[in-house]
């Protein structure tokens, strides 16, 4: 399977012109809470061997003082595995959406000497600083029934046999870590940020948010998941339901084929292949629905 990921551009060899102790700046776009004012702050740091954007943020947390000497609250950010497999630390680094853990300082400074710019993702509501609320991604997975509906968890023997080819394709789709890079770069995927209405209960607000999430575009990650589960021998048994979700409001039709998603996907998932295949399945599905019932 050929993928058009450009992930190789992440790891070019580093020219070793970054010396330990070398000074550089980090500009962070900060926001104290949802819908609050945004502001920039700049921090001065010293280069350490093997430094990535996580260690940059760790150093800032240790010593939250701006380059003009003001003590400020430490920058809030999200991370967990630090080896690009959990998807937590996704943010905009020098304007580009990616994981902070694989963003090596030496490479960033090579591309843009002197300064690194960190911003939160723009397609999700900011909770604080670089932390955004990506629960919408998981809500979308609910919408498209992204699971294999087994009868029970009792021992019912082995799963269905599969060809190596089918497994290889499924594995590619199954590496999706729901980081949101594809959605950030997608010109068709727009931010949803609701405000509490006067006297609204949290339940009512959540219901409203859910409706908004369910109606808006699902994005290419979810289209690939539809392909994944519809190609699974057991998952295929409720393929129709998933295809219904795929052609519902906010479904595959919203895709505008800019194909940015496949370029920014850190896992090299063949998202655009999934979109085209799902498009074909949707075409067949809709014809069957209208003319074959």
């Amino acid at each position: 399977m050929n993928t058009t990921s450009n992930s190789s551009s992440f790891h070019r060899p580093i020219a070793s012109d970054c010396q330990p102790g070398q000074r550089f700046y980090v500009r962070v776009l900060r926001q104290d809470g949802p819908r609050k004012r945004r502001y920039w702050q700049r921090f001065a740091l010293e280069y350490e061997a093997d430094m990535n954007c996580i260690s940059v943020l760790q150093r800032i947390a240790e010593n939250p003082r701006t380059d003009d000497g003001r003590d400020v609250a430490p920058v809030a950010w999200e991370c967990n595995c630090l080896e690009e497999v959990c998807g937590a630390c996704t943010m905009l680094i020098n304007g580009w959406v990616r994981q902070a853990c694989t963003a090596l300082v030496a490479q960033l400074l090579q591309d843009r000497p002197g300064e690194i710019e960190l911003r939160p993702m723009t397609k999700f509501p900011v909770l604080r600083d670089l932390v955004v609320d990506r629960s919408r991604i998981f809500a979308i997975l609910e919408k498209i029934l992204a699971w294999v509906p087994v009868d029970s968890y009792y021992d019912l023997g082995p799963g269905p046999r599969q060809s190596q080819e089918a497994q290889q394709m499924a594995y590619l789709y199954s590496k999706c870590m729901s980081c949101g890079c594809c959605l950030e770069a997608c010109p068709q995927f727009l931010k949803i940020e609701l405000e509490y209405r006067e006297g609204e209960t949290p339940e009512a607000y959540n219901a409203r948010l859910r409706t908004a999430n369910m109606r808006a575009y699902i994005g290419s990650h979810a289209i690939a998941q539809v392909e994944l589960f519809n190609s699974n021998p057991i998952g295929a048994m409720n393929a129709t339901e998933r295809l219904d979700a795929l052609v519902a409001e906010g479904g595959i039709q919203v895709c505008g084929n800019s194909q940015n998603c496949v370029r920014v996907c850190p896992k090299g998932i063949p998202l655009t292949t999934a979109i085209a295949r799902a498009g074909r399945a949707a075409t067949r599905h809709i014809f069957r629905k209208w003319f074959d019932r």
């Binding site: 727009l190 979700a245 919203v254 895709c255 084929n257 295949r277 498009g279 075409t283």
Partner: protein, 234 residues
């Protein structure tokens, strides 16, 4: 099991509307563009040939022709354009950050769509005055200088409208190229949307195919334009 929430009214038909939009871009709108270019290209064979082509079209008759024009050309174009404008409004272009060729094509598809719509609106008004009803012709078309095309004197009136000024010729150049790009790239995205070409390799081949189609159309369109701009009718 909790089901996805019911969609909004537009949302319920969103898939249908978008697929229809994709389809009518090719049929009939794209097909019409091709026929239109072929007809106008014939000006290079001389005014008489062009007149013959126009006469062929008009041989449909005074009742049939408007019905065909409205149902197969005007309404589909308007529908395609209006849905297209909604699509443009619902996207947030980001070419500045993600400078990929495909993203450029995505963005350009939207620009050319808007430009082509504006151009076609002007072009149809200028040549046909939009509506052929007598009150409209007397109170809108003629005072604004539209409706210059006369099927009986096809070559003379068509060339005259292109040759009205350098600005008009330039507008035609931009308009024709916008239409051509929009159609050729539209065919490419259509192939993905409907699932004709799926793998990256197939999509690269399709890109070349659509580029060839676009190039052919551009030659036709620019040839026609050149003919209109240079043919002198005595």
């Amino acid at each position: 099991m909790q089901r996805p929430d019911p969609a909004s009214i537009f949302g319920r038909y969103e898939f249908l509307v978008r697929r229809l939009h994709s389809l009518i871009g090719l049929l009939p709108v794209g097909a019409f563009l091709f026929i239109h270019f072929v007809t106008n290209f014939s000006i290079l064979d001389g005014p008489a040939t062009f007149q013959m082509r126009v006469d062929q079209i008009h041989s449909l008759g005074p009742i049939t022709l408007p019905v065909v024009e409205w149902s197969c050309i005007l309404l589909p174009i308007v529908a395609h354009a209006l849905i297209g404008l909604i699509i443009v409004a619902r996207g947030k272009r980001n070419l500045l950050y993600y400078r990929y060729a495909r993203n450029f094509r995505y963005t350009f598809q939207r620009w050319t769509g808007v430009v082509a719509f504006a151009f076609i609106a002007w072009h149809v008004f200028d040549t046909r005055g939009w509506i052929q009803e007598s009150w409209w012709v007397a109170h809108v078309t003629h005072p604004l200088g539209g409706g210059t095309f006369d099927a009986a004197r096809a070559a003379a009136t068509a060339t005259a409208s292109v040759q009205a000024s350098g600005w008009v010729a330039a507008a035609y150049l931009v308009g024709v190229l916008a239409c051509v790009y929009h159609l050729a790239n539209g065919v490419w995205t259509m192939g993905i949307t409907w699932g004709a070409w799926t793998s990256p390799a197939a999509q690269r081949w399709a890109t070349m195919l659509c580029a060839a189609v676009g190039l052919g159309l551009a030659v036709m369109g620019l040839g026609a334009l050149w003919g209109m701009a240079t043919t002198v009718i005595r």
